[in-house]
């Protein structure tokens, strides 16, 4: 346990340093990324204002809060892209990963956690600009902040496992891009990334309840902007834990299959 703690500490440190190294490109990327929620924010707060102040239970200010917290959640749930696996295999990095006496997922979890921490620090000034420009309605309690803190890392883990498994599909097909795009589309519609799910038709909400996506976007956002009861907050964390454990289980199976495939063929 302490040994893993040590590995995580070292890798997070390296992640932080890498992010500092690439701060300029991180900022460019972040500004580009923030366009997406700003569009949603403007559209939905416009609609709310033109309908006497609220739509689907959200006031204009709450929409603003939703999408600004969105940018924070998005910053934390960026993980290793499935596209990267092809490169890992081709350049022999994958072999190097296998030779370390440690499951390779720890590397990605720790390294990206480091980059995320740095990324959030760099996000702060942009968040300040968004707050000043759009004026969110938000006043979280300490419980909500605490639950939010765990929830974004829950979102990080769930998304990490999902994208790792998508990436491992590289061992069977060279068209991972298409699979990943399908995943992103499903995520956009079913996670609360596009709009809060309560604005969606009922059947979409039922469907979303059976899928992991909403726990990677909507749950942490709602936790912080005060849309959930205390009971819902803790049930939500439990649901995230369930998806994390399920993800670990499924990942073991996929990983074992992928190792069998790799060790039969090499690269």
């Amino acid at each position: 346990m302490t040994a893993y703690f040590d590995v995580y500490r070292q890798l997070m440190k390296i992640g932080v340093m890498a992010e500092i190294q690439y701060r300029v490109s991180t900022y460019f990327y972040m500004i580009g990324m923030i366009t997406e929620p700003v569009i949603y924010l403007v559209v939905w707060s416009t609609i709310a204002r033109s309908h006497g102040g609220s739509v689907g239970g959200y006031t204009a200010g709450q929409f603003v809060a939703y999408y600004i917290v969105w940018t924070l959640v998005r910053n934390v749930n960026i993980v290793f892209t499935p596209y990267g696996w092809e490169d890992r295999i081709r350049t022999g990095q994958f072999s190097a990963m296998l030779l370390r006496p440690m499951h390779p997922i720890h590397w990605d979890l720790a390294f990206f956690a480091g980059t995320r921490i740095m990324s959030v620090i760099m996000w702060l000034p942009l968040a300040a600009i968004l707050v000043i420009a759009f004026r969110p309605t938000i006043s979280p309690t300490w419980t909500q902040v605490l639950v939010f803190f765990f929830a974004i890392w829950g979102a990080y883990l769930i998304r990490s496992f999902n994208q790792w498994m998508l990436g491992l599909v590289t061992f069977w097909t060279t068209r991972v891009g298409a699979v990943f795009q399908l995943y992103i589309t499903a995520e956009t519609l079913l996670s609360g990334r596009l709009v809060p799910l309560s604005l969606m038709p009922h059947w979409v909400q039922v469907l979303a309840d059976f899928l992991p996506f909403q726990w990677t976007f909507q749950f942490p956002i709602l936790a912080l902007i005060g849309k959930l009861t205390t009971r819902q907050l803790f049930l939500g964390l439990a649901a995230q834990l369930g998806w994390i454990l399920g993800g670990i289980f499924l990942l073991q199976l996929v990983w074992a299959a992928c190792l069998r495939k790799y060790s039969a063929v090499g690269n």
Partner: protein, 261 residues
């Protein structure tokens, strides 16, 4: 004219090259369908909660989405691949090969690459625009269509100039890569008419990044919101920007030749 023949030649060679990878057509089509599906869901969600967004009705917003897709296809097919190639060439010193060719360097640098499959978006964009027009329920004259086409050309030209000026900066600043990510993000703002954005953002999307001219203005032309003054202004602006781009490019080229000598 020599340059136009050259452009056509490059286009043909590029297209033939890419035609070898037919699978990419289906991948692109798949991607295009997913993007349009998401866009349609967004519109449907919006209009299930309201009847008009900042004065635009469903058919009109459908047109905006079509123009956005169409123009995105044009950018991805020609402008962006050429500009990223140029940045790479300047960085690695391979730009010399372009300079040694007996043709205008700016033209050559702007037409060398064609990502033909990206033009799937042009096609789907046109289809969406047509569907939007059919559902407009208002009289639709030849005048509007001509203005629309003119504004499309002006929009593409302005986007090209915007990219070209930024790319020319590569002669001074070496790492211009992030621009692609940044632009791809900001261009998304064009999904909706820029009028819905708050003043400062609208201003930025018009003057700093010409998304307004690329998508909103042509859509306004098609939905009959454009007055003659704006049309003339846009044309004049494009001519001015083309000239500025040309001057800036020559300036950058002198700097490049000086530095590598």
């Amino acid at each position: 004219m020599h340059e136009i023949r050259l452009a056509w030649l490059f286009f043909r060679v590029g297209a033939m090259n890419e035609l070898q990878y037919r699978v990419n057509f289906f991948l692109q089509l798949f991607q295009s369908v997913l993007a349009i599906g998401t866009g349609l869901v967004s519109l449907w969600l919006i209009f299930s909660h309201t009847s008009s967004l900042h004065g635009w009705n469903p058919a009109q917003l459908l047109i905006v989405m079509g123009v956005f897709t169409l123009m995105g296809g044009v950018i991805q097919t020609t402008i962006q691949p050429n500009m990223t190639q140029l940045i790479e060439d300047v960085q690695q010193g391979t730009f010399d090969y372009v300079l040694t060719k007996p043709a205008d360097a700016q033209v050559l640098a702007s037409i060398r690459r064609v990502e033909i499959w990206q033009s799937v978006d042009v096609l789907t964009g046109v289809i969406i625009v047509l569907i939007g027009v059919l559902r407009l329920q208002s009289q639709f004259g030849i005048g509007r269509a001509v203005t629309f086409l003119l504004m499309l050309v002006v929009g593409a030209l302005l986007i090209y100039c915007f990219w070209m000026i930024l790319t020319t900066l590569a002669f001074w600043v070496t790492s211009m890569w992030h621009l692609v990510e940044l632009f791809a993000g900001v261009y998304n703002a064009g999904r909706y008419p820029v009028g819905i954005y708050p003043g400062w953002l609208r201003y930025g999307l018009t003057v700093v990044v010409p998304v307004a001219f690329a998508v909103t203005v042509p859509s306004e032309a098609l939905t009959g919101r454009l007055d003659t003054k704006t049309v003339l202004g846009a044309v004049a602006l494009s001519l001015i920007l083309v000239t500025i781009t040309r001057v800036f490019w020559s300036f950058g080229l002198r700097r490049y030749s000086g530095a590598s000598a």
